[in-house]
Subunit: 156 residues, 2 copies
Amino acid sequence: MTESDQTPHHGTPAGNTPADGSTLPASVADLLKRNVDGLVPAVVQDATSGQVLMMAWMNDEALHLTLTTGRGTYWSRSRNKLWMKGEESGHVQRVRTVRLDCDGDTLLVRVDQTGPACHLGSTSCFDTHLLFTDEDSGRAGDSAGTTHETAEEAAQ
Amino acid sequence: MTESDQTPHHGTPAGNTPADGSTLPASVADLLKRNVDGLVPAVVQDATSGQVLMMAWMNDEALHLTLTTGRGTYWSRSRNKLWMKGEESGHVQRVRTVRLDCDGDTLLVRVDQTGPACHLGSTSCFDTHLLFTDEDSGRAGDSAGTTHETAEEAAQ
């Protein structure tokens, strides 16, 4: 998660819709299975490299803004506010595709990421902790994001 | 999510550790930031293609089993049980790497997936609903998972 560069965008409580009519279309809203806080997890993936960059949360308004502005916008659970990714840091996300999974409870957002996605300066938020690696794995597809990682624990 | 092929593996409540001593090492457990149900979301990605296949949830025991058996194992929130992915369907996941994000609250599991990951028969659970696409996007990296998708809504 990268909630460190968030700034207030709207003050609408999670799951609520704004009063100005700019709501998520019913054809999308009806597909969503939200958690008890009105949120859906959003997996964010680099559209070019395929690297998974971060995971964040969206309420209806964050999804609506993402779909209509083409900029990755999320709900900060820690600050209880909407935040457009990169609003302060400049590390914005141009959205290429947004998909919803078969159960309607997880989003996949493929983006062009400007700068590092992680507030720690790494390309991906998943560069921090490597918990497990299969030592037999020498596959080409296993190269993404391994540059700066630290093997915290090989539990096997 | 693909909770349709889950079967009981252990009956341990979410977040609890088994009594046989086969617990998650403290060096890993101490890094985890679990939700109120003791769970952490796990993004599952194909290790070769980079395609995001599904999102599921792990408690400590599911993570421990994943790390020690090398098979993707999750906590089913709907059935309140552990399930090894593919236990019934045969669509198992050989785990290549497991990473934890900077905040300790999301896992990324890269796997060799046998058969389709989605219980609907698709390669990915995210093949079902395309909510948004940037029509200017003709990038090579945007090709994964587009074969069977349906444009449910272009909200922009």
